[in-house]
Symmetry: C3
Subunit: 351 residues, 3 copies
């Protein structure tokens, strides 16, 4: 079996070891790639993590599959048994990752590096990036091609900034922060006063401070504070095209799906999840552990631990009942009218 | 008549010929520009494609107008008769296009081109673009200023990538693909496992594969697959700020309007249309020919051929009735209460 | 007291003077920074502009606070009395702004400047920017690092384009326009004809014209017109990730919050406000002074002066009542069923 993707094949036993899975099969079998059950080819290792995809197990062409305890495998499949099949599968993925952008230590000759820039050990700056005066690039951090790091901005250690990221002046990133292409950290907040019939810009003199282990998606925007800091807590993950306005404070361990947004000065607790295209209004408080379903629109404070959906976002179970009931509404009007007529004919018109 | 926009005037007869329209007027009249009925100046050619704009026909200052068979023109207007006036009009637009960015064949001296890059005949790379090692730029393709093409990425033939586009490592574009500025193809998908109280990144080792004749809008994002491919089918058109998550598969001939989004692993059929700001949840199937109206939020499978709207998105006609009925809801409650009181007074309280 | 942020401290009397406020306190006290009431440290000046934050006044550590006439201050606080405390506060912000990106006059040697480019007095082009042939950069305007200014585009006087902005060929910006990083002005509109089972691109030969004193947010997109102009009126402010489609016309003095969008050919009056994630459909008219609340979805014409919300967007007060009533809907169905049963048992089944 030759590897399909230019990566050397790996014996199944090595994969089981790396994943922390128990192998029920032949450790010498060669694995050449990883894929979903439906797309798998011979030589691939796959996984079953959700009952939704169980029907594909019998017909998969995968050579080996990660399965939870108790799940039966078809006879042709080697089984990698793991308590959480997807977690185990994910541990192996780096083995088969394609060659990606490499930013070697030091600054590419085409990069423009300003005065007083500090570069930590093994820090690298890619081609055609701009590092403005006084910026700090921490040890082991890699700044991708075309990035712009503003004046006196601070990038922590072992960060990865992919292509064309902007970190504006004075903003601060923690360690191991990952930023996908096109994201803009530290643009001016949307702040104006309205005087004499026109908007007047309020200078935005604050910064953005991003905690350790945060990831920020492609073309996402996190605005600098008017004063003080816009904050994103440690371990929070932010998807593509997300908007965080000025002076927003996001706690640790949150996850904001694509195209969601948070308006100015709102404080979001720890472990909060926003579904895709969800939104939270300005000057609000969202408690720890809140889940806002996709497209949910929050226009008031949300208590810790709540799951909300819809617009205005309210308790998710209630909203599911409301949305189901909505379909009956036109009929309801008809039925009510009928009762009213009946009532009138029984007792004569009132009022 | 001198041309208004620095383009040489064109005789009306030549325009009729190019558009495939029948001229009812003077072929020697000089046309200097193209515009809508309301904005037209003398020397312009315009069109009427929708009854909505019919009132502007009488007062237009256009010299000539594309009209469908049967539409009456005011006496001062030369008529270009065509079965589909807008299609005919569109054929002529290139005649009056302003001078735009030109990327000549070869790589601009300021571009950074890596090792083992393959450039097809007449392929061009604009100023300050980065082409990483092993990338392939097909014949006739033009890479705009500031673009970043990742390692081993493949751009097909006769593609146009406008300014500052990112195509990340290993991703594949077909032929005649157009990408507007700022779009990001192949950022990491939003994939994490949650263990020991924190999110852990799942390596995203798949790619994005874009079919022939696809167009992708400004600042749109199409994420690479966790494993395998995120796919966009031939001829599909994607507007600005659209989000396609990892492992999404989009069929041929779809059209996704601005700010719409599709969550991970969802499969979208052929000829599907998403209106502006519409969204589709993850792990769903949307059948061929489905139309999701603007702002529609899909949270379940949608059968082929359906037109849906609202949130949760359901049959459009039903939702129109529901939305109309909603306005009566507060009054409905009042009326129901009245009936209840009446019923109680008739028969005494129950329970 | 030493300044916390590397900016020289300023006597309170000077701050009062600059703000146009009346000082009730010691003019010699040194002010080192500015912040919100909650975050303030000793040496900071703060403000109270909304009753929402009044509870923080007693406990603030700020040295001085801007207050409206009649608001009581705690004894430890110096008071800066002003009719509009936030307006007064905003006037002082530039004193404490951190050092930011500086684009000196002239073109950075790493920039690529085409033939026939016109640069006004004191105009500056930052590192690794691309200015294509025939572009005009007005006096005092600054083009940030990594920007791409297309062929024959015109940037007015005293504009500030931050990093990585694209202004495509032929587009026109007025004076004092500010563009945040990543914004794309003049990408092709989303225009196709559908013939023979496929979409065919309609050339987009128009431009974008931006009025004086407009600000455009990070990664926002304003598409060029199919023909003629997409227009943004003087003094309008556009937030991050906003989408304005081709041939949209926006009046003067509007404010569009983040992630809102306007579909093609829609005409928006003066002084219109779109809340975050709001949307307006295509070919519509929105009158002067209209306010669309956050997430409002406009699918029809809106009369001048209206405030609308929800989807489909309708009168805001009505929608508030509707949204409140929605929660009663499941119960309403139950109550109606009960009345029907009662009615049947009284009079026997009908029909």
């Amino acid at each position: 079996l030759t590897p399909a993707r230019g990566v050397s094949p790996v014996p199944l036993g090595r994969i089981a070891e790396l994943a922390g899975a128990t192998l029920e099969g032949d450790p010498a079998v060669a694995i050449a790639g990883m894929s979903g059950l439906e797309d798998a080819e011979e030589g691939d290792v796959s996984f079953l993590a959700s009952a939704r995809y169980a029907p594909h197990l019998a017909s998969t062409r995968a050579t080996a599959v990660f399965l939870a305890p108790g799940t039966q495998a078809p006879p042709h499949v080697h089984v990698l048994r793991a308590a959480d099949p997807y977690v185990a599968f994910a541990r192996v993925l780096p083995l088969f990752a394609p060659a990606s952008t490499e930013v070697p230590p030091g600054a590419h000759p085409s990069a423009v590096v300003g005065a007083g820039v500090s570069m930590g050990a093994r820090a690298g700056v890619g081609p055609l990036a701009v590092i403005e005066d006084g910026a700090v690039i921490g040890a082991g951090s890699r700044i991708g091609p075309g990035c712009v790091i503003g004046r006196n901005a601070v990038i922590g250690e072992n960060c990865t900034l992919h292509a064309r990221v902007v970190v504006a002046h004075g903003c601060i990133l923690g360690n191991r922060v990952i930023v996908q292409p096109g994201a803009v950290i530290g643009a001016d907040g949307f702040g104006y006063t309205f005087q004499d019939g026109a908007f007047h810009k309020v200078p935005q003199i604050g910064i953005v401070e991003i905690g350790d282990d945060v990831e920020i998606g492609a073309n996402a925007c996190i605005d600098r504070a008017t004063i003080g800091k816009t904050r994103v807590g440690r371990g929070t993950k932010i998807d593509n095209l997300v908007q965080l306005a000025h002076n927003v404070a996001v706690g640790e361990g949150c996850a904001f799906a694509a195209q969601s947004g948070v308006a100015g000065s709102t404080r979001i607790g720890k472990g909060v999840q926003l579904g895709g295209q969800a939104g939270v209004g300005g000057h609000m408080r969202v408690g720890d552990g809140v889940v806002v379903a996709g497209r949910g629109g929050v226009i008031g404070a949300i208590d810790a631990g709540s799951t909300v959906s819809g617009y205005p976002a309210r308790d998710h179970r209630t909203m599911m009942r409301v949305h189901a009931a909505l379909l009956q509404l036109p009929d309801l009007i008809r039925r009510l009218r009928k009762l009213e007529k009946h009532s009138e004919s029984e007792s004569g018109p009132e009022e």
